[in-house]
Amino acid sequence: MDYLDNFILIALPYIALTVFLVGTIYCYTNRKFQISSLSSEFLEGKRLFYGSVPFHWGIVVVFFGHLTAFLLPKGVLAWNSQPVRLMILEITAFIFAISMLVGLVNLVIRRYTTARLKPVTNYMDLVVYILLIIQTVAGLWIAYNFRWGSSWFSTLLTPYLYSIFKLSPDTTAVALLPWPVKLHIAGAYIIIGLIPFSRLMHMLVYPLNYLWRPYQQVIWNWDRKKVRNRRTPWSLQRPKNN
């Protein structure tokens, strides 16, 4: 088991993070046209609601839950110091995880039973679905059987993840965790590594910029005030829109 543990807990994260970083930066700079949420709502717009909405809100809450435990472990532990608050946190997370699973199952059924969606489905979509289902079921299993995840994540996993980022991986505590947890960890790394190769790429381009940009956008291909001035040197800068 040591080899497998070392692979999952040490080699895999570095492979995944490297692939993720290099891949996403390469895609964003060279393959921009291919980055898209690849929405299929246009071809099937009714059943999507029962899949996409519960799945996305579920995964958003669950993802930010994990992120909070990673960034603010002390805060989570302090919150969990009272049983009622712990229960609120765990039950909320569990409900959103269920919502995610329900949405995911609906999405899979919808995609493979609608004839029109076949032309816009590829093998990578299937891989993503399988991985996400395994990951969600494993997560729910862990949450139900190994209580209370929010607390032991903050005490066990957060130091381990920090050690990964500090480039001195320390797996002594994590290696003792039961196999479903390791499966969940391995699944997470594989999903991160797959982001640049799959439709998951769209989560990195959530349009937050829309919040503060003005509604209307006008692009001038050259500086319209300078272009008529004959003292302006020719072609000062690149056009902005390509």
Binding site: E41, V53, Q216
Partner: protein
């Protein structure tokens, strides 16, 4: 004053014969691709009718355009809050069935089928799934009022027309319709630009053409909802939105857009308008009844010294100013006041204007004695025993505006946010031009009557002649006054020419370096 130039258009609906040549020209150049088969950046609808996509004008369904709440305008179905919350599922998105499922026929079956007892047939197959389908709808399924109960009576513009009036419209003997060719309006206050979360859609400063950057579009689909004219389309294959680009590569090289160039009825005009960009929001926020006026108000007079001065300060080229002065659009829209925006109540300030159709020409039918003419004919000639003539020159003609076959209300709901007076003004002018020209060419109209109608419509005889000339006799260069794009600068819209200068010559986009 922030003077900018805008490529604007006028479509003369009385001249449209509904041949769809424009649509085909556009389709062949731009949308004959996988995922874009269903898109018609240019389409021609029969009015009354539900249009394409079905009932696009009904914003209770599609939530397009802007609406005024508490004195300010907001996007009706998109915007910062709604757009980002509904990003996982857009409840107001039209789906493929609202347009039509694209199809082709298995033509090869006609040739390659084995010998048998039956004639081989070419079955229709879906261009999405490739499977045989029953075709249920097409892009112009209701052409020429076909399927009237299903289509024409469902027209959203019928909302304010009483059932009796509707009955009259659809009586076979009285039935009337006209064609409405539509492309992207390249609006001054575009809802698609405002709704795009990624910021992929933008208005080009130099000529006002609205474009979607395919590299930045992320398929959040808000533009499809936000455009009240449904002229932003989702390409289901590439996962990107696409729209009419006003053939900008042609415009930059001085050619008319393909749809306009190919127009058989020569209904289309294109030219430059100067407008005051600092007053866009104010114009779009006007009260509904003032919208047409407020939109026309921000269009500036290209002969005005003050306008020319601030245009030059803003970097508008001299050639563009000259084009603005010769612009057929300025004449139709501002000087003559004949052309109106389509559905101004959507508040996007569209830059495509329509001259409403007279529909049909107002006339009376009267009985005449044709016996003398019949007797003159040879025994072989066909003798029509029809004593009724369609008379467009009678005295009663002028009083019949309210009795026109097509309810004024219907045209008003299309072109003036329901204000019938605006349409009446335009119609009066159009009729006055006809009566005046009839006096000149046929001579059976008295001078007093012609002068009376002209002064009633508020135009002079010279103006009427100019309207007639630009309507009926315009040459290509008069219909399309396209400013020089300044080729040297137009190239720089796409590429930085300095990159390859002094390098390996033509053909490379990246700098040429030696191999390792």
């Amino acid at each position: 004053m922030d003077v900018r130039s805008q490529i604007a258009m006028v479509f003369h609906l009385d001249k449209c014969i509904g041949c769809h040549t424009c649509s085909i020209a556009c389709k062949n150049i731009w949308t004959d691709r996988k995922g874009a088969e269903y898109m018609w950046w240019n389409n021609v609808e029969t009015k009354p009718g539900t249009g394409y996509p079905s009932k696009w004008e009904d914003q209770e369904i599609y939530k397009g355009g802007w609406e005024k709440r508490n004195g300010k305008i907001h996007l009706k179905g998109a915007g910062k809050r709604r757009g980002l919350v509904n990003i996982f599922y857009n409840p107001n998105l039209p789906v493929i069935d609202d347009y039509y499922e694209p199809f082709t026929y298995k033509y090869l079956d006609l040739i390659e089928s084995p010998e048998g007892d039956d004639q081989p047939t070419a079955r229709p197959v879906s261009l999405i799934t490739g499977k045989p389908i029953d075709i249920k709808m097409g892009p112009n399924w209701d052409d020429d009022l076909s399927g009237t109960p299903d289509y024409a009576r469902q027209d959203p513009n019928m909302k304010n027309i009483s059932p009796e009036e509707q009955e009259v419209m659809f009586q076979l003997e009285k039935m009337a319709f006209f064609y409405l060719p539509r492309i992207c309006n390249h609006c001054l206050n575009p809802a698609c630009v405002a709704s795009c979360p990624s910021g992929a859609i933008y208005k080009r400063g130099e000529d006002g053409i609205v474009l979607i950057n395919q590299q930045v579009c992320r398929a959040w689909r808000m533009c499809v909802t936000a455009c009240p004219y449904k002229k932003s389309y989702f390409n289901w294959h590439t996962g990107k939105s696409e729209k009419c680009i006003l053939c900008y590569p042609r415009i930059e090289s001085g050619l008319a857009p393909a749809c306009m160039h190919s127009c058989v009825g020569r209904i289309r005009y294109l030219g430059v308008l100067l407008y005051d960009a600092s007053r866009i929001e104010e114009a779009a926020s006007a009260d509904e009844k003032d919208l047409v006026k407020s939109q026309l108000d921000i269009i500036l007079d290209p002969f005005d010294e003050e306008v020319i001065r601030s245009a030059k300060e803003n970097g508008v080229a001299d050639s563009t100013l000259h084009a603005a002065q010769a612009s057929p659009i300025y004449k139709f829209v501002k000087q003559w006041g004949l052309a109106l925006p389509l559905h101004p109540e959507f508040r996007t300030l569209p830059m495509l204007f329509y001259i409403p159709p007279l529909l049909p020409v107002m006339a009376t039918v009267k009985k005449t004695d044709t016996s003398i003419e019949v007797e003159k004919k040879t025994p072989m000639a066909k003798k029509w025993n029809n004593d009724w003539i369609y008379d467009t020159s009678t005295e009663e003609l002028w009083g019949k505006l309210h009795q026109i076959r097509f309810p004024l209300k219907y045209i008003a709901s299309l072109f003036s946010a329901g204000d019938e007076e605006v349409i009446k003004d335009v119609w009066k002018k159009l009729m006055a031009v006809r009566i005046h020209r009839r006096r000149v060419t046929v001579g059976d109209v008295s001078n007093e009557k012609a002068e009376g109608t002209l002064s009633d419509a508020g135009i002079t005889a010279e103006m009427a002649d100019a309207i007639y000339a630009l309507t009926s006799l315009p040459k290509f260069e008069e219909r399309f006054v396209i400013p020089a794009a300044h080729r040297e600068q137009a190239i720089e819209m796409m590429d930085f020419t300095g990159d390859t200068k002094g390098s390996a010559g033509f053909g490379f986009k990246s700098a040429v370096k030696r191999g390792v």
